[in-house]
């Protein structure tokens, strides 16, 4: 199965483990990811906060590249923000006037039949949890995982098409299939403050802390995420939070693709988990995963 791949800017630097693990598990599950040639930034939040036209033209251009260069009908965008922007553009292309405007700006007709998937959709809807489960060689030993979706994997529902946007359950189903134990908690779709990460750190520390506090109260040993910006905040800022609020957080934050990879028998080093800023060794050792 060949599917176009749109990594996005984060996956080329701060979210590199997400890129590595996504490619690695797709190979193991028999999906060939074709990176879109010459992809450009989707614009993310800053674009739709300061330039309405470009906020649609940038993702639409990537849809054009998907159709013209890779000649595929489906594209996977692992970053929740890229996924959201591509879906937004796809949604807005239904409008005749917007389609004409974007055609003018981009210089070619925008395709309307490209299906934009998040990596989680790829696993659940395309590959299927049962097919994935067949390839699991080591269970995660009841690891208590809080599945964190953040904002853009489910919201806005009319764009993502998710019915359970307040209390999603796809990642939980995946974790159960891997032998982990998803915990019940409240902050699944709460915002970590991502778009403020570089400008208003005080806001990010406060919001990220609320998520960590709730995960810990629910008894989670680790948090699984599907967005590079959430990962940077939850993983990288634990030390800053501990300093500022006198907390003692040490909760490993995994991309859900890394946990799938571990269960598929791929070595932790190969998945990039040792690049995390909150060390994962201790937890993996207790579950005999190293």
């Amino acid at each position: 199965m060949r599917i176009a791949y749109y990594p996005g800017c984060s996956l080329h630097s701060s979210g590199i483990e997400y890129d590595i693990s996504t490619r690695r598990i797709c190979r193991a599950l028999g999906v060939e990811l074709i990176e879109i040639e010459d992809w450009i930034c989707c614009g993310a939040t800053p674009a739709h906060q300061c330039d309405e036209i470009m906020s649609l033209a940038l993702p639409a251009k990537n849809l054009v590249l998907t159709a013209q260069r890779s000649k595929l009908k489906r594209v996977v965008a692992p970053c929740a923000s890229c996924y959201s922007r591509l879906r937004f553009a796809q949604d807005k292309l239904k409008d005749e006037k917007i389609r004409r405007t974007l055609k003018h700006v981009i210089g070619s007709e925008c395709p309307r039949d490209i299906e934009v998937l998040h990596t989680l959709d790829l696993i659940v809807e395309v590959i299927g949890i049962d097919a994935m489960k067949e390839k699991v060689v080591r269970m995660l030993g009841g690891m208590k995982v809080a599945c964190y979706y953040g904002c853009l994997m489910t919201r806005p529902p009319e764009v993502t098409g998710k019915e359970r946007f307040e209390n999603p359950g796809d990642m939980e189903s995946v974790m159960e299939a891997l032998g982990a134990e998803p915990v019940d908690w409240n902050m699944k779709t709460y915002c970590c403050g991502a778009s403020f990460a570089l400008t208003q750190t005080d806001v990010v520390l406060e919001l990220t802390r609320r998520i960590l506090v709730d995960a810990e109260a629910a008894g989670a040993e680790a948090i699984a995420v599907g967005c590079p910006l959430c990962h940077v905040n939850l993983d990288g800022r634990q030390r800053q939070i501990n300093g500022k609020f006198e907390d003692r957080f040490h909760i490993p934050i995994f991309y859900f693709t890394e946990l799938i990879g571990l269960a598929l028998g791929i070595g932790p080093g190969e998945l990039g988990v040792f690049r995390h800023l909150t060390e994962v060794e201790e937890l993996l050792e207790t579950r005999a995963l190293i």
Binding site: D38, I53, F165
Partner: protein, 186 residues
């Protein structure tokens, strides 16, 4: 402190109408149930809640809408829009009011969100992609805090989580897109 003067008021004499023309969202549908305020993760940092902002828009209270920090503290998490019983895309409205304030050159109480957006968009325009190290460095320099988050940056660098060189993709084609969009705006 009076921030928007009479001239500004004339320019956007009907704020609600302007918002409607740009977004297709009707602020008069809001009946002040406060679901958006209750769900907003950032409300503790805001001068007035999103619900109050909707009332300002309904009543054409330009000063109040623009001078508070509410529009600048929206995280674009879409919780308000997803929960609104009237189906109003509140996050889109907040963004639009922010852009309006900027375009009409109202003196607004701002944080660095606008600077962040502009630096980001420049970077996309000229290189096609966002170069994280450059973005962080430039933002810190422009804000006069060159050492902000340096320990975090060093830790990330050590783990190979930062790419030191930018990746530039077909800058001309992206620049052309920006230019054509700019002409359309005019």
């Amino acid at each position: 402190m009076k921030i928007a003067d009479q001239r500004d008021r004339r320019v956007i004499s009907d704020l609600a109408k302007e918002v409607f023309e740009r977004t297709g969202e009707n602020v008069f549908l809001c009946y002040q149930c406060r679901k958006c305020a209750a769900g907003c993760p950032n409300r503790t940092f805001m001068d007035s809640t999103p619900t109050e902002l909707m009332r300002y828009l309904q009543l054409g209270m330009v000063d109040e809408a623009m001078k508070g920090n509410t529009i600048w503290y929206c995280l674009s998490c879409h919780t308000c829009s997803a929960r609104c019983p009237q189906g109003i895309d509140i996050a889109h409205i907040l963004n639009t009011v922010r852009m309006l304030g900027h375009e009409k050159r109202l003196k607004v109480k701002t944080n660095s969100a606008m600077l962040f957006g502009r630096v980001w968009m420049r970077m996309v325009k000229y290189t096609g992609r966002v170069y994280e190290v450059g973005l962080i460095g430039l933002l810190n320099l422009l804000r006069g805090k060159p050492l902000r988050d340096l320990p975090l940056g060093i830790r990330m660098l050590k783990r190979g989580k930062l790419r030191l060189l930018p990746s530039i993709t077909r800058p001309l084609s992206t620049m052309n897109m920006f230019c054509r969009a700019r002409k359309l705006d005019r």
